[in-house]
């Protein structure tokens, strides 16, 4: 069993309630932080921990916190990003559903460190019952003196508010989220100014992911240095991985980032192998926007070294032969899955979710979907593959927010690694409607551990 810092108590009966959470040692860390630590000391521990943002970009949390502007007399806000809409990602939901008080304790410590008296949890609208669980937990925490005015006699006031979104992936992008929280369409803002200077209601704002903020509790409890000893290199602490697709045991797993990808997929403690005894074909290891990898490049890097479940190793080889940790949404495709179709569903997703502000993203995502649809329906031409490549290149880097890149990368990686499958579709228009390319891609049969 690996180290568990976040989900250690997830299976304790009743842990969702305040009483059980408290009995299990909950809120003791918040008490220590508020009563015994200065704001600077807390930020320092977070910096030492090496914690990287768990929302997808992996930006160091302590550094982000130290950027927040502190103009005299202007309120500051902490906003918890619980929009969780990147396909393959469902870890924040698990954390909030089963351990709502862990998040609230993390929010309390973080709000104190950032000086946020009104902290918001922006949760995707569809998670209505999870929003209710959080609201109930907030009521309990308030009753017990952990939220409200003059908490623990420290003079610090903190209220936490749950704000439900209404169905828009783009609102996970931090400036779109802020717009949405202001009651507007989720159109990302042009940066700068960054939220740390002018965010919610033009006030200094820090936006962090649910898992990032929950991790503040073990960091303050253990101390930043101890936390940083877990994991490897710049991948410190533990990471939640939501595993899905064609595996025996889909679910949310907490890993310390020293486990190999192969062990994660095949060991019984985690994914339990490929469902139905089938062979592994491909994997999108960090949420739908990160590059898809064929099995051989997933398990070993281009240099032939074992690939591990951490930030550095997953991105080893860059986009030519690697991928990214991203949000930790780990999607497995078995030998029967069609790469063209999978790419099509993702292209449709990004077309649907584009906010429409920039033409490369608005138009490009639509074209990519149409062309992929054409190939999938057995009407593709060879020139379509180059056209797709061309479109994705024209989107990447030419948009206001990273959704454009997120839409381009999956298409680029699918063509890069599975070009012959696209060609097969085009050369076998009829056959491709009734059967699959399967694993023909691999001259070398894929290694399947015993």
């Amino acid at each position: 069993m690996g180290v568990k810092l976040l989900l250690e108590k997830a299976n304790v009966p009743g842990i969702r309630t305040y009483d059980v959470y408290r009995r299990e040692g909950g809120y003791a860390t918040a008490e220590k932080a508020l009563k015994e630590m200065s704001i600077e000391a807390i930020v320092e521990e977070v910096k030492k921990s090496g914690l990287r943002g768990r929302g997808g970009a992996g930006f160091p949390a302590g550094m982000k916190w130290s950027f927040i502007a502190k103009p005299e007399g202007v309120p500051r806000h902490l906003v918890c990003n619980a929009d969780e809409s990147e396909p393959g990602t469902f870890k924040d939901r698990y954390l909030m559903e089963f351990l709502p008080h862990l998040l609230i304790e993390g929010l309390l410590i973080s709000s104190y460190a950032l000086g946020s008296n009104d902290t918001y949890i922006y949760i995707r609208g569809e998670y209505a019952w999870v929003a209710q669980i959080l609201e109930d937990a907030i009521v309990e925490a308030t009753k017990n003196g952990w939220l409200g005015k003059n908490i623990l006699g420290t003079g610090f006031d903190c209220r936490i508010h749950v704000h439900r979104g209404a169905g828009a992936y783009i609102c996970g992008e931090e400036t779109a989220l802020i717009e949405s929280l202001e009651g507007k369409r989720g159109n990302p803002r042009i940066k700068p100014p960054f939220p740390a200077i002018q965010g919610l209601w033009m006030r200094p704002t820090v936006v962090n992911n649910v898992e990032t903020l929950a991790a503040i509790v073990p960091i303050i409890k253990l101390g930043g240095e101890e936390y940083a000893k877990i994991g490897v290199g710049r991948s410190t602490g533990t990471k939640l991985i939501s595993a899905c697709g064609n595996i025996n045991k889909p679910g949310v797993y907490e890993i310390d980032m020293t486990i190999s990808v192969e062990d994660f997929i095949y060991s019984d403690e985690y994914c339990g192998g490929i469902a139905g005894g089938k062979k592994l074909k491909a994997c999108i290891p960090g949420g739908s926007s990160v590059p898809i990898l064929p099995a051989n490049l997933l398990l070993k890097t281009a240099k032939g070294e074992t690939r591990y479940m951490n930030y550095e190793s997953l991105s080893d080889g860059g986009f030519a032969s690697g991928s990214m940790m991203g949000s930790g949404g780990f999607i497995i495709l078995d030998e029967d899955q069609c790469i063209v179709k999978n790419t099509l569903t993702l292209a449709r997703f990004y077309r649907h979710e584009s906010c429409g502000q920039c033409s490369p993203c608005r138009e490009g995502t639509g074209w990519m979907e149409k062309i992929l649809q054409k190939i999938e329906l057995g009407k593709g031409e060879m020139s379509d593959i180059d056209l797709l490549w061309d479109i994705q290149r024209k989107i990447e880097g030419n948009t206001i927010c990273p959704l454009g890149d997120a839409a381009a990368w999956p298409v680029a990686a699918a063509i890069r690694h599975f070009r012959d499958e696209f060609e097969w579709h085009i050369n076998n228009r009829e056959l491709s409607q009734t059967s699959n390319f399967g694993l023909q891609h691999y001259a070398d049969p894929i290694h399947v551990p015993a």
Binding site: P75, E84, S85, E86, P87, G88, T89, F90, R93, D118, Y120, R124, G125, E126, Y127, A128, W129, H161, H163, R164, G165, A166, G167, A168, Y169, S180, L181, E182, G183, K184, R185, G186, W201, S242, A243, C244, G245, N246, P250, G251, V252, I284, S288, G329, I331, L333, D334, Q337, K341, N342, T345, L346, R348, F349, H352, E353, C355
Partner: protein, 167 residues
Amino acid sequence: MSLQFNNEQMTEFNRLVARYPEGKQKSALLPVLHLAQDSFGGWLPTEAMDYVAGLLKIEPIEVYEVATFYSMYNLKPVGKFVFEVCQTGPCMVSGSDNIIAYIQKQLAIQPGETTKDGMFTLKLVECLGACGYAPMMQVGKIYREHLTKEKVDAIIAEYRMQVVAQN
């Protein structure tokens, strides 16, 4: 005006608005539109949007802009139960196509349509954050996960029973 929150809904409205600073009541727009949709029969007629604009002291256009942007707001009437089935990659590789085809057959409707008796609407939606419990759909405020044909039958029967019991 005929559409109005009742006392209980008004209390909820006030609770929502109180979460935001003075003068920033527009921030409550998304939550208030959810409340309006739940209160006024599952969708947002123009009258409902105008009413919300009045309550929040903003222009109606500010409400229309938002209501048309977010996928959870229905701008047309929908059935009593809306089956929102996820069709994105992870669900697709886990068999959502078969489930969608089966629901279409059982309800005899196409995606986007409502059954003649006004009971069910079928909508195809994008990832709902339940990829590990696929195939899945959202019905109202809850998720129905690990769907199989048998489960779909049972769910349809359950909602039919619910309506019979209410009448």
